[in-house]
Subunit: 291 residues, 4 copies
């Protein structure tokens, strides 16, 4: 629809996958990248100057930065995407205010005639538990009847739009009948720190499944360009668990019961097996009050 | 629909209008204000400290700040609104990234059954001149036929949404059939500097008429709380005109032709009449190369 | 030095402490507040609309928002301070980019003749452990000799500055000799969400002790205006503990050893005692893999 | 001092100058660039989609975007610098909040022993006119005496710092004696739109001459990577002139006097010579009320 030529020409980008299809008509394309794991390290080293020689490995430094929320070096990299997505997903994407974006304009151009129709396995009942989610279960009508209902609206809306365009109604007005399932396109760019924040929030299970698909696709494309940063992000942010002050009381109490010498010692002996180095082991024991 | 009690209880807010209706079902309500003309002055004076005694009047100082783009003092004030607006206008409002906002959630709650239907005088043809606007002229069908077409979609979409809700389709999915004319609500807050920037852009004639109505209503409510700041904004920003380097060459050339002594002198004699003080007259003569 | 009148006139502010002295010549003054615990709730309810009736208590709602990082409602409140602080602390404060600020200008006005001289208990040796901190221990000289050294520089720099001003050197140049211990002043304003983020980072033990004193003083002044938000912030953010993916493996393994029925059951029986309600208990058991 | 290897290895960067020396010990180095004139065009075209074919030339499109303040496409490019600069200049640079930065840390590492000493032609008296500037004129002492005074403070401060480091005072404390003329280093990155805004403000004659030198050097390095964007920036932003509502009254009145047919016609005939195309001529006549 857009007809812009892919900007992706550099060997760097071409070495990895650049495009993933998402939902029924959407896609995510990684069109440019600034930086690399090494540039994150370079940016960090400016803070440390001469005193920095001993922290010698890129991986260790990146993990240290991620663990201690030293976010500035990650801000020195950028990722830029061309995304095709339904308007209701765009409305969630735009809430990430540190990103730069340029969206297809329905005031200037004819809107797309493509609409999102949820697949059978996406069409689920309201969650009982989570007021803003869905869950497995029975619906009050068949999938084909629901698809018919949705298609009826999409087709009708498109026809009304098309009629109004033919009657020369201004495009900025005619579009008001189009549903939020209508596809739009956007160039979207953000720095690596804010990209991770976006992925953390939008690939979360509380996020709407449709934007989760986009977040997952974007992360998949970015990973090979920043493998060490992404690994650290997964370990220290995405898969990390936070306990409140009250929960920590419970954890500590529970661990009191665990503190038969045998149990704890057996556990500690395996620390290296869990890849907690010396410094992280010390940090961990502090957190659970066993230092 | 929302049922939140108006937070507006302070005598300060109640002394002025707090709510304006916009479009067919929308409104703008000013629910809180931080600061005043005097607080802009106070914030500015911290930059100047002891050296500041001579610039004695609030109005002069505020005009000086606005003219020279010293924006920080204006950032020290905030305005907060409760707004009801169609989704397509919300999609323009959300692009102002320095604002804070909290929008009604279609994942969590049932959407409104109200939709924007453009009035007869808003329903105009595509502008020939401006690819993203409308203009006076003939449409290819009657207003009532077009209204019928729009209402048909709105009613159909609402019925489909209602059916899906009854079949227990998750709210976050059922809503995808609703058109962007559907009304939503938002709490929206920004600082005074960015509010002025918003008003400059969105009350401009190139802006879509619907969001212009909102911007005008918001400005109308804010004005009495910051009369001196608003006056300065109008004089130095909203009604100011910027000429490019090339246009300035033309202006200067034209003024050469004007520079019969009589013409210019007559003009200069009236400067005070146009409210250009001594300092601004000097700045003006510099700009047109007549210093 | 500034001579601005305190803007604090509203009964709301006067009901609580508004000013705290910090370090030897500094202070923090809370000069304006927008919002309250109730306004956070009001802002949140707009997302929930009609579906919201059951979540009835302000405190519960605020705790839910904080726990689940629904940050927008907290952005609807603002706190504004007048702060006097050394330049090196200002250099840390300014890094919080979402804040608005207006600083005393050394280009426009004569700088202050006050300089930060660290108290005896602040003057500590370089930490062995933490390359960017200090710790208890012996210094290589007496406090009075070190004070003499610092005062010598402060006095000399002030005299040089004063001389240059007398020789009519431009203020913006003369100031370059002043050390970063020199006091400056700033009006600083931010929203409540970003204020909490600032407090989390700057009242942390890894933060430099001088800015910690400022962060603590600011938090102390803000607390009475948002007691429920602050309580939730302490429980779910400031005193929360985050474990990495690898640390969670260790925790879960340790809790396996704890899982004698007696131990865990005893623990669980007391949950209410630790103030974990039903929903949080469920969340907790999920986190430790015992759901 | 830093010892980081230049990241500049791509042929794209090497084709142009990458480093400029600034002041006595400072420099600006362009270490990475994302995008180009063509990518600005590509980003813009996404807004226009199918309707866009006629606006065919990159240069025309870029000029149109700049003139009408369509800033999003310029945000799709990034420039990243390694800069060495005095602390007082850093304090001005950091105020541009949309930039990302990572600065050398005086808590972690030994500070530089280099200090800014203003050259003879930079050492000027306080401006009579402009309370925050300098101007040509007589000083109350000789340059060499002033240099002696400044050097005395720099040397003394460095010695005191060095002494305290030797007495094992924590680095984060010892540094408080160092003057704001002390050099620091930073990695600084921003998008092209905000870079232009920075250049507009900081290369202005009201800006302090030292940061102007940095802004000019940065612009010089960026220019060859975005020649069309930079040209448009100069014509429509940097060298543009804005007239207030009152000033426009004067301009229009003056042009009345100019409106001998001969004068205006002569002027208009040359429009193409001034490179105002048909569309801009129309816009211009509107601005001066001659449409």
């Amino acid at each position: 629809m857009l007809g812009i030529e892919s900007q992706v020409g550099s060997p760097k980008l071409e070495a990895h996958m650049v495009k993933v299809e998402v939902l029924d008509h959407g896609f995510v394309e990684l069109i440019d990248v600034m930086g690399s794991d090494e540039e994150v390290e370079n940016a960090a080293r400016i803070s440390y100057g001469k005193g920095t020689r001993k922290v010698s490995q890129t991986r260790n430094l990146i993990r240290y930065l991620m663990r201690h929320k030293h976010t500035s070096p990650f801000e020195m990299c950028e990722v830029k995407f061309h995304i095709k997505l339904p308007i209701f997903v765009m409305r969630q994407l735009v809430r990430h205010r540190t990103a730069n974006l340029n969206e297809y304009s329905g005031r200037y151009s004819i809107m797309s005639d493509e609409f999102y129709l949820p697949d059978e396995d996406y069409l689920q009942p309201q969650s009982q538990d989570n007021k803003q989610g869905r869950e497995e279960g029975e619906l009050g009508n068949t999938i084909s009847d629901i698809h018919f209902e949705i298609n009826r609206i999409n087709d009708g809306a498109w026809m009304a739009y098309d009629n109004m365009i033919n009657w020369n109604v201004a495009k900025e007005l005619a579009r008001v009948v189009l549903p939020v399932s209508n596809y739009t396109e956007v160039i979207w760019k953000t720095d690596l720190h804010n990209f991770f924040h976006f992925v953390k929030l939008r690939s979360d299970k509380h996020s709407q499944r449709e934007i989760r698909d986009y977040a997952d696709a974007m992360y998949h494309l970015v990973f090979p360009h920043f493998p060490l940063c992404c690994e650290a992000f997964e370990h220290y942010v995405r898969n990390a668990v936070t306990f409140s002050e009250q929960e920590m009381d419970v954890i500590k109490e529970l661990l009191e019961h665990a503190d038969t010498k045998a149990g704890l010692a057996g556990c500690m002996a395996d620390y290296e097996g869990w890849h907690l180095g010396k410094r992280e082991t010390k940090e961990f024991l502090e957190k659970i009050g066993k230092e």
